[in-house]
């Protein structure tokens, strides 16, 4: 355990590097700069950011939980396809979603209806569509793992379906919802592309304006610290909701499917709602991209180029997923097996950087690498390290969820039989956690595929990814050219989501029986 603790500490230390950087930068700030931090303008930015995060989180939870319940617990038409389709928007970069919404519903767009897309409505819509899969994936997995006996017992006791959902299903799902909601909230806090395209003044937009205009990293660092403060608020809220509703599984229980709710006359309205949401989140971006690619068909990049960018994307994202999984393991083990103040702080610390805009994380690693690790500067190794720092919470969400399910008695038994702690971890704990770790690693993989600011500043020169090529083309408004790498990015992410969503279903054979 001491080894695990040491490893966890190391991981946490790496994850807080950007925070240290912000403090170093803020330390050089003049009294004046601190003053501007406390003025009305900052307060307004914090309010607007908090509003966006609240609306996006609420929207993503409603949509995510709703879809998960429809797919896992009802007889909604086409639910097996819907189960996969609902997760797919995760592979669409949020700036592509925003561009597509603008092309579809903005002024001069296909279905132009005024300028409602700008400001809060458009920004919130794009972010909800881009982030609800975090909640959906975790909740769908939660529902699948849930012991059906709980709901059945409640039904036998005469509760209505609504009451069962409220009093039994929701409490059991609470950790999954909370975990997903945190990822959604942190994403909304850190995102820059969507708020910029939708012209909504949030904190990240102000951080970028400061960098762009002043070239002075201090005011931007102060605003970055405000973002960290908001992260702490989010984490405290999550910890509270997690603490209240823990339903432990008393015994392993039989892995059998839950009874599905017959929707009756609600069957088709439910289908329209579920499929409609997924269509907007998935078909609008893909449709708009296809339209662009056809409009400027002559502009397409060569197959060799596309293959090269795809290769770079796969390499960077694959390594990031593996390393993030390895890094999340000790932190999760420590947090669940040695719960306490120290391990809680360690786990939370790894979330600290997640709400920061990518540019802040990139600059912090430029700062540290050029001072203490120059040989790895602008190498693939440092790039992967940066990805892990940025997306560790997603790996942790998976690992943590999986660990809660592993009965400590099994580990104690293994210890009693004389196995060393390392051996217990390798032979008992890790295999049981594998599905959760895999889910977390998949989230990291998909996020890394789409990542932009860190990739731009820390990649080895000439290491062009699909995301950087989309950026290059949209930078000169060459949407026809941008469509190809964007579509490739979506296409190669699909099998990954497929594995994540379909394989676990296939394992529970009975689940497939109608």
């Amino acid at each position: 355990m001491r080894l695990v603790a040491a490893a966890a500490t190391l991981v946490a230390a790496a994850a807080v590097l950007p925070l240290v950087y912000l403090l170093v930068r803020a330390g050089g700030a003049s009294a004046d700069a601190w003053d501007t931090l406390l003025d009305d303008r900052t307060a307004l930015l914090v309010w607007r950011t908090a509003l966006l995060v609240a609306v996006v989180t609420a929207g993503a939870v409603l949509l995510g939980v709703g879809l998960a319940w429809l797919v896992e617990r009802t007889d909604v038409p086409g639910r097996r396809v819907l189960a996969v389709a609902a997760a797919l928007p995760l592979v669409v970069p949020s700036y592509v979603t925003a561009l597509a919404l603008l092309a579809a519903f903005g002024p001069g767009g296909l279905v132009s209806a005024g300028d409602w897309v700008f400001g809060l409505p458009g920004a919130a819509l794009a972010l909800v569509l881009a982030t609800y899969p975090y909640v959906y994936l975790l909740c769908a997995a939660g529902l699948r793992r849930m012991d059906p006996a709980l709901e059945e017992a409640a039904r036998t006791l005469g509760r209505t379906r609504a009451a069962v959902f409220r009093q039994v299903t929701l409490p059991v799902l609470r950790p999954s919802i909370a975990g997903g909601a945190v990822l959604v909230a942190l994403y909304a806090l850190s995102d820059f592309g969507v708020v910029s395209l939708m012209r909504y003044d949030a904190l990240t937009r102000a951080v970028f304006t400061q960098y762009r205009s002043l070239f002075d990293r201090t005011p931007a660092a102060l605003l970055g610290l405000v973002l960290v403060a908001l992260t702490v608020v989010v984490l405290v809220l999550e910890a509270r909701s997690r603490g209240r509703g823990r339903v432990r599984r008393s015994a392993a229980g039989a892995d059998r499917p839950a009874q599905r709710v017959a929707l009756g006359r609600w069957r088709w309205p439910a289908a329209v709602a579920g499929w409609g949401a997924v269509a907007v989140a998935l078909l609008v971006p893909v449709g708009v991209l296809l339209g662009w690619s056809l409009r400027d068909a002559a502009e397409h990049p060569s197959f060799g180029d596309l293959a090269g960018w795809t290769g770079s994307s796969l390499l960077g994202s694959g390594l990031a997923a593996v390393v993030a999984m390895a890094a999340a393991l000790p932190v999760a083990v420590l947090a669940t097996r040695r719960p306490g103040r120290v391990s809680a702080v360690l786990e939370r610390a790894t979330y600290a950087s997640n709400a920061l805009p990518g540019i802040v994380i990139a600059l912090s690693l430029v700062f540290f690498a050029t001072r203490v690790a120059e040989p790895v500067y602008q190498t693939l190794a440092l790039l992967v390290f940066a990805y892990v720092v940025r997306f560790l919470p997603q790996a942790l969400a998976g690992a943590h969820g999986a660990l809660v399910r592993v009965d400590p008695e099994l580990e104690r038994a293994a210890r009693g039989l004389g196995a060393s702690p390392a051996r217990v971890l390798a032979r008992v704990t890790a295999p049981l956690m594998a599905p959760g770790l895999l889910a977390g690693a998949t989230l990291v993989f998909l996020s890394t595929m789409k990542e932009l600011p860190v990739t731009l500043l820390l990649r080895p020169i000439g290491f062009d990814t699909l995301a950087t090529e989309v950026w290059t083309a949209t930078g000169v408004s060459a949407y026809g050219t941008a469509a190809y790498p964007a579509l490739a990015l979506i296409a190669i992410s699909i099998p990954v989501v497929w594995t994540l969503q379909v394989r676990p279903r296939g394992d529970a054979r009975t689940d497939l029986q109608e």
Partner: protein, 343 residues
């Protein structure tokens, strides 16, 4: 097979180039030459705009270029964090402001005298040098306006008839440079008055020049304050794009000519190759590239200007030094925040 071929080429090429030996007096064909044959450029300019320029340079000189593409401001911040450890030899920036920031950090080497002699003084300092010019213009909708309906001064857009029809990008570096120039040229009072008037006009606030051009095409606004070269780029992409550029009268603060340019990093160990790169940008071939490929103004005399533009003498902006703009930027941002144009 292909790899072997490439390897042979990679080995043979530098040797061949060194063998050709230009006018360098040193007879050694290995050490010194080998090191000078590579160059790392941080480019704040888009790969689609300047990618071929780097290829052109390599073809002309044999110097291999490694380019890190990014946003100008973000690359300036990166170079500042890297300090003396920066792998960059040259910073190729989209605007004078980012160059000024790197100069302020004390990281740039002096501009070689031969290069400085080619470019008018107002387009350079002793540490960075402009390589192409970009003029501020008023882009307008050709569907809803005629050129004759547009005023000749940016100040005249402070008129009721433009209410709700104007758009511009306050977070954008070139917009902020224009406001700084206006403050220097007209004084604080008048600049603030104009900005406050603009704020009352209920403008559409955008993030950058391209968004502004698209807002005009989509019918959100009728006129936008932007740089001149975005339009030809957009028209190349989308023929029939319903927007045109309107040049304001000479000396007007609305027709500031800013530059894209380069700074040579003081920490670079490849000063020679860096200078050759700068020389190439200022050569007739380099200057013609800007004129015909990025539609920017050449800054070296004797090169034809881009099509559909007015002569640089006529778009002469207010008489101010570009190097002054950098110092004004922090207070300009404050002013924009004060007036309510930047949130």
């Amino acid at each position: 097979m292909k790899r072997t071929l490439l390897a042979i080429l990679a080995l043979a090429l530098p040797a061949a180039v060194a063998g050709c030996g230009d006018d360098e007096p040193s007879s050694s064909s290995s050490a010194g030459g080998g090191d000078g044959q590579r160059l790392t450029v941080y480019s704040g300019r888009n790969e689609r705009l300047v990618g071929d320029l780097f290829k052109q340079f390599t073809k002309a000189t044999g110097v291999q270029v490694q380019v890190r593409y990014g946003d100008s401001a973000e690359l300036a911040a990166t170079i500042a964090e890297e300090g003396d450890a920066s792998p960059a030899d040259v910073f190729f920036s989209q605007d004078a402001g980012a160059l000024g920031a790197v100069q302020q950090a004390g990281l740039l080497a002096p501009v070689p005298a031969a290069a400085a002699a080619k470019v008018p003084e107002r387009f350079r300092t002793d540490r960075w040098i402009g390589t192409s010019g970009r003029a501020r213009v008023v882009a307008y909708s050709t569907e809803r306006l005629k050129a004759s309906q547009l005023p000749s001064s940016i100040l005249d857009f402070c008129d009721d008839r433009w209410e709700g029809k104007i758009g511009f990008p306050p977070p954008n570096a070139s917009f902020q440079s224009f406001v700084s120039a206006m403050r220097i040229a007209l004084g604080e009072e008048r600049a603030r008055d104009w900005l406050e008037c603009m704020e009352r006009q209920d403008p559409t606030l955008l993030e950058n020049n391209i968004q502004t051009e698209e807002a005009i095409a989509d019918g959100e606004i009728d006129v936008g304050f932007v740089n001149h070269y975005y339009l030809p780029e957009l028209k190349a992409e989308r023929p029939g794009f319903p927007v045109a550029n309107h040049f304001l009268k000479a000396g007007d603060p609305g027709s500031l000519v800013n530059v894209a340019g380069v700074g040579l990093l003081a920490s670079s160990e490849r000063q020679d190759a860096a200078r050759r790169f700068l020389d190439h940008l200022l050569s007739p071939a380099g200057q013609r590239y800007f004129s015909t490929r990025t539609f920017e103004y050449p800054l070296v005399a004797g090169i034809p200007r881009p099509r559909e533009t007015r002569p640089l003498e006529d778009v002469h902006g207010p008489d101010i030094a570009l190097s002054e703009l950098g110092e004004k930027l922090p207070s300009t941002l404050e002013l924009l925040q004060d007036v309510g144009l930047v949130k």
